[in-house]
Symmetry: C2
Subunit: 338 residues, 2 copies
């Protein structure tokens, strides 16, 4: 058993039409008589026919794939971007081809090369830092390129992102305005964590601009930075700089971890230690106390990117005119700070 799977030619033979008519019957728009189409679809179901995209892809030079690289799937923020992106693209008949860089631009280069071989219609990458070869591959691919989650100084093509630096600046001003002076920053010490290092740099700049000491920097190590790392960092902070009044964390996950460390030690948040996070994760809205954070619009980045790709592929923009869509992060004041 298990014969060779049926092709359009087999259906054509069974019905007594040409393969071309069968092909047309599978496109919703094409001109095929009602009865012929029905007969074809019935025969297809009977024979257990499954349309072969690989052949269609080659002939039509169109895969309806959109390649996407993200640092990690195990991060609620990136996952949300991918979800919205995936939703938006599938509504336009496009399928995501997803790859993980593990926060490594060399891995990204390999991944980009591998994904481009599949001939996607467009490619979305996270971040604006790439190896020279990856940049070249992306530039020469002849398809729309979208860099997300950052505002690269020299974009390759389109951009859908926000300024991590400015976002943290808002947070620093929020804390400074509330009267906090001895403010620490947790995370952003690893070179390969580009968004983390930007946030830390933004912290330092904003603290100096406010005339405050910007030297309370606690390391978290390489990403992914989770709750555990936040707890460990808070323990270091409490030991090394016990007079600290507030800590701004590289993400809500580390902020929550820091919070748990305070709870275990009987340190009251925000009375003894105020906390700020980043990313507006679910947890920050429900934990006790809730976390002051920055909404970076992770979901909207995905939705906008899908829309942008749809517009570009369907020619609703001057081709070769790269768009930059900039989100403005919004501070969400909550119980973890006054």
């Amino acid at each position: 058993m298990s014969r060779k799977p049926p092709t359009m030619a087999d259906i054509a033979k069974a019905i007594g039409v040409s393969p071309m008519t069968v092909s047309r019957a599978f496109k919703s728009d094409s001109s095929v008589s009602q009865e012929t189409r029905e007969a074809i679809l019935r025969a297809a179901e009977d024979l257990g026919y499954v349309f072969d995209s690989t052949a269609a892809n080659l002939r039509s030079q169109k895969t309806d794939f959109v390649a996407v690289t993200i640092p990690s799937i195990n991060n609620a923020n990136f996952a949300e971007t991918v979800r919205q992106l995936s939703d938006g693209l599938s509504r336009r008949g496009l399928q995501i081809l997803l790859g993980y860089t593990n926060y490594d631009i060399l891995e990204e280069e390999r991944l980009v090369e591998q994904l481009l071989r599949r001939k996607p219609q467009a490619i979305v990458v996270t971040g604006g830092r790439h190896t020279p070869r990856a940049r070249k591959l992306l530039s020469n691919a002849g398809i729309p390129v979208v860099e997300t989650w950052d505002l690269p100084e020299q974009p390759i093509g389109h951009v859908v992102g926000f300024s991590n630096t400015l976002a943290i600046g808002e947070m620093v001003r929020h804390f400074a305005d509330a009267g906090y002076r001895r403010i620490a920053f947790i995370g952003g010490d690893a070179d390969n964590d580009t968004r983390g290092t930007e946030r830390r740099a933004g912290f330092v700049a904003a603290m100096q601009a406010a005339g405050l000491d910007a030297s309370r920097l606690i390391a978290c190590g390489a990403p992914p930075i989770g709750m555990r790392e936040g707890a460990v960092a808070m323990a270091h902070l409490l030991q090394s700089l016990p007079d600290t009044e507030a800590a701004i964390c590289v993400s809500d996950l580390s902020a929550f971890g820091a919070l748990t460390e305070c709870q275990r030690r009987g340190i009251r948040v925000p009375q003894d230690m105020a906390l700020g996070g980043f990313g507006n994760y679910d947890i920050g809205a429900i934990c006790v106390p809730t976390l002051t954070t920055i909404n970076a619009f992770a979901g909207d980045i995905g939705a906008k990117t899908a829309e942008l790709i749809g517009d570009v592929l369907e020619g609703r923009f001057e081709p070769g005119l790269p768009q930059t869509i900039r989100f403005t992060p919004v501070l969400i004041g909550r119980e973890s700070s006054r």
Copy 2:
């Protein structure tokens, strides 16, 4: 500018060899002289050649895709399964083609059909409940099928999962042994949440087996069930059945939400209310108090599935001999219960 992209034939012409030699030069194993290969790869780089998988896929009838459906990417447990699966498969040269069913078996049917058109080498689905047509599509696809996260009564092919029913039974016994009597279950009320309903059924069965009242069932609504839903359910529970001693939740997320509701009301956990979760999420290991939970080995499901697919595709199993790999969930006792 922007001429037609170069093909193997172009490289062949440039070097003065046949296209076949160029093709061989791109396979690591194939026999091509050292110098010829180097010349070919150099020319390819110069011309900006990108290998075209779509053509190779059609000709060799091999895509190196593995199709995967999960209910949602926004769930740390499924995300972990996908991560390990993706890692394991990419090590074997296979690329994941991921789709989301949104906890809907009709959506799953559509997705399976769409994914099969891409001619994957194998397909992995989450759960054992499918529409009749989806079952037929999967059975007839002629590729290995793996159902994960469940132990279906009538598997389509291979299975990598565990018994949700038995897992919750363990949890119930743990609580009963600790002396809790008035135990509630939160979640598992939505028909389309197959794993949730199994867990609730397991709760009822185990409670009855222990001679306890199994009627304290609090609804959470349709999945995804997050922290918020857990908090709301706990509020209901405290209002409707205030003498409840312990609550077992459909997942760690809802358990954490329930915990926060207790904290806001000054109800001590575990003294006034004990809590149990499911899934061994990061948060349960770090929140205060830490959560008693069940380790369902989400990551290992992914890793084992990758291994299984590798073995089957490389012919290390009798073909047509479906494997069932059963994980035994392990209870992790923590601070949220005595």
